[in-house]
Amino acid sequence: MEVLQNDLRSLNQASRLTSAVKDVDLIIAELTAAREQVAATLDTHTASLTMTKLQNPLKERFEAVNKDLANVSKAQKKLGKSLDKALPPKPLPTEHDAMEDRTALINRAIAMHLLREGEFEVASTFITETQDNPSLDLSPHSPIPIPTDTGDADQSMSDIDDEMSHSMSTTGTTRHPDLLPLQSQELQEKFTDMYRILQDLRSHNLMPAIEWARQNSEALEARGSNFEFELSKLQYVWLFKGPATNNLPDDARNGRSGALSYARANFGRFQARHLREIQQLASAMVYAPNLADSPYAAVFASDTAFSDVAASFTREFCSLLGLSAESPLYVAATAGALALPRLLKYTSAARAKGTAWTTADELAFETPLPQRMVYHSIFVCPVSKEQTTEANPPMMIPCGHVLAKETLTKLCKGTRFKCPYCPSDGNIKDARQIIL
């Protein structure tokens, strides 16, 4: 790519169509001059003399224009060559477009992506444009009931969250399918809230986030999240540092005394779960003059605290909406770029061999992705080398080793089998299905 960049820079600026324009200008000048001469005298002799004299210069000028064009074409050919070198053309696999006819689903994914990225204007343009085109409508989804009489957005949001946690606890592991596709308007309101709170967090104002966490404390706790306490803790630390660091007004509500009264007012609710940490925070008072050398230095180091807390806020906020923190569309597109070379290699090999691409359940080749992009546990049966699925689940045998169910069935002699990995054996009825 650098080579291409250099080649592009070295392409002569003169080898552009502008030089041809300049030469055409000269022709116009010659013609204008000739016209003036003829017009001035309107004499037959001058006219024929001028015209004769015009022949050769104009011919040369036209040749110059052609030469300009030849140079332009030469420069373009050079560009084409270095482009081929930098980015040798490799046709993309488009024979089987699995995404064709799924416009509605893709549109919905894009709309949600735009909303979650805070691109509200683009999102609303997009939604209007897709709705104007009924055949490409966003996929139908039923809105979640939002109590409108409360009038307060935050209020209604906590209602939804209550509802959500309620439905989660009653139905156990299955979620109501219509609960998640929020309508764009509601989604936009929520993300507007999220970006407002994030903005405050960036300017070191924790209060809106704390308020949000308190309103949703039940749902957060149900997820095993300590976010509310983390925020309160940071608020304590922030106040503790005093006006020199936090730039808040120097009054009773700031500094160590402010931190103490904040702790008195707010830490009570966390006592059951976070007693140890609260004790640490309180004891730090003793070390106030030389905190940096105290055992509590780590607790009070807040360089990245605000960006950390902003990241966990985004995560918590999205997960309460049933969304993941990072845009799935972004992750999928990035993974797509990473996996594409393998796909291309495979399709061209398959084409060369004449074997057709089969849309089986599983890809025919590995597409290694970075650890970050592996989201589920994957169990490959060590005997059959097949991934376990719902139809062929992983089974644990009494010695603790795991095999795919089909493998186990094949291994059985009668009802007994021997573990392929250790000397123990067992009965088929002692093997149990596990969920990884």
Binding site: A98, L105, E129, G322, H376, L436
Partner: protein, 411 residues
């Protein structure tokens, strides 16, 4: 380490999706040059001939100074016209070179990054997604959204709004039943279309013929025959079936075809092909054919780049668990394939192939059959404030004493 390998950016392979980014402006540059060249050729030949003729005439005394003046004015007008056209080609050339420059420097940013975990790569990849989105929006005709997005992200030079907008205009005109715009486009790209053996122009002419026959007035039918002689019959060797059907169409007026096919339910198969010719669906097919030809000519992939990225990406990310019935973690999980946004979409693609297990370390089996890593269980127990020696299921929330757990060995 395997993960290091997977996270590495292989530069020569990482820009597959970005080929059209440079190919398209290059193809446009060539096209622009061809048009400029053709204009210069045409105008300069005319001016040169005119110059020679008027000089000879003037020398021979066959023309007065006024005649000379008149032909000089014609030449000037022609040259001024040429200058105007050439200037606009030069402007277009400058714009395209600027785009190539911007795109090359965007792509070369990547060469400074070596792993996908690099923060700069994530930024770059985000911009790539934005580009893919604009490409998708443009190809689906959502022009306003595409423009809004490109302007918001300040990346006009990285997307091809003009190209797709004019493509959409022609596509729209075909869908609305007009061939004029598409024929003009064919005329502009005559040589290249012939080189790629495109049947677009023939099909457009064919449609014109069908429309003339459809009208059924004597005038139109006569015109249809002249039209066929001029545009269809010369291709009788290349498209014998179409030309024969075109001739046959004269014997099958639209009302009769409609009557017969509706009565016979398609049993009288002789009418069926003609019914297809009269069908309004042909306009949609023509629009598709045009888009296909247009993209082929400009070296653009046939389907939106986002489709390609998504089908490959979703496949690579997908696991059998993502569409399983008991994937309890659905929705709350961070897996993009399990997400609300993409779950349905991912049904269309196969799941990734793995030859090795990817599981957490120190797996423990809970009495309810669920397996978790030890570290995760301990962490969750601490967070939930459980009494010591107890663990809590991360999904179901069941609490168990630690001595009920069994070790799991994954080989």
């Amino acid at each position: 380490m395997a993960d290091f390998e997977a996270a590495k950016i292989v530069h020569e392979n990482h820009l597959l999706l970005d080929q059209p980014l440079l190919r398209l402006p290059y193809e446009l540059l060539r096209k622009n040059f061809r048009s400029a060249h053709w204009t210069v050729e045409k105008e300069s030949t005319q001016v040169k001939t005119l110059l020679k003729d008027s000089a000879t005439a003037s020398l021979n005394g066959r023309s007065s100074p006024e005649d000379v003046l008149k032909s000089l004015d014609t030449m000037l007008a022609k040259m001024r016209g040429l200058k105007r056209k050439l200037s606009s080609y030069a402007d277009e050339e400058a714009r395209l070179y600027r785009q190539v420059g911007a795109r090359v420097s965007h792509l070369s940013e990547l060469s400074g990054m070596h792993t996908v975990d690099d923060v700069r790569y994530q930024e770059w990849s985000r911009q790539r997604l934005d580009r893919l989105l604009v490409d998708y929006l443009l190809r689906h005709g959502y022009s306003a959204s595409a423009v809004a997005m490109a302007d918001k992200k300040a990346m006009r030079d990285l997307v091809d709004i003009e190209t797709f907008m004019s493509m959409n205009k022609i596509r729209k005109s075909l869908e609305d039943g007009s061939v004029a715009e598409a024929l003009a486009w064919c005329n502009e790209n005559k040589k290249e279309l012939r080189k790629m053996d495109s049947n677009l122009e023939f099909m457009l002419r064919y449609q014109q013929y069908i429309e003339l026959v459809r009208a059924q007035t004597t005038d139109k039918l006569v015109e249809a025959i002249t039209h066929a002689k001029k545009y269809l019959i010369p291709y009788k060797d290349t498209y014998p079936r179409e030309v024969h059907q075109a001739a046959g169409l004269l014997a099958f007026p639209p009302d009769r075809v409609a009557r017969e096919t509706s009565v016979s339910n398609g049993f009288l198969s002789v009418y069926v092909p003609y019914a297809a010719l009269y069908s309004p669906d042909r306009w949609k097919e023509l629009a598709d054919l045009f888009v296909h030809t247009h993209n082929g000519l400009l070296a653009l992939p046939a389907s939106p780049l986002l489709h390609i990225a998504l089908s490959s990406g979703l496949s690579a990310l997908k696991t059998p668990a993502c569409h399983g019935s008991h994937s309890a973690a659905k929705g709350s999980s961070v897996c993009p394939v399990c997400s609300t946004e993409l779950n349905e979409l991912a049904r269309a693609v196969p799941y990734a192939h793995h030859s090795k297990s990817h599981v957490e370390h120190d797996l423990l089996l809970l009495p309810n059959g669920r397996v978790y890593g030890k570290a995760k269980l301990e962490d969750y127990a601490a967070k939930s404030g459980l009494p010591a020696d107890n663990v809590k299921d991360l999904v179901t929330g069941d609490v168990y004493p630690q001595d009920k757990l069994k070790k799991v060995f994954i080989t």
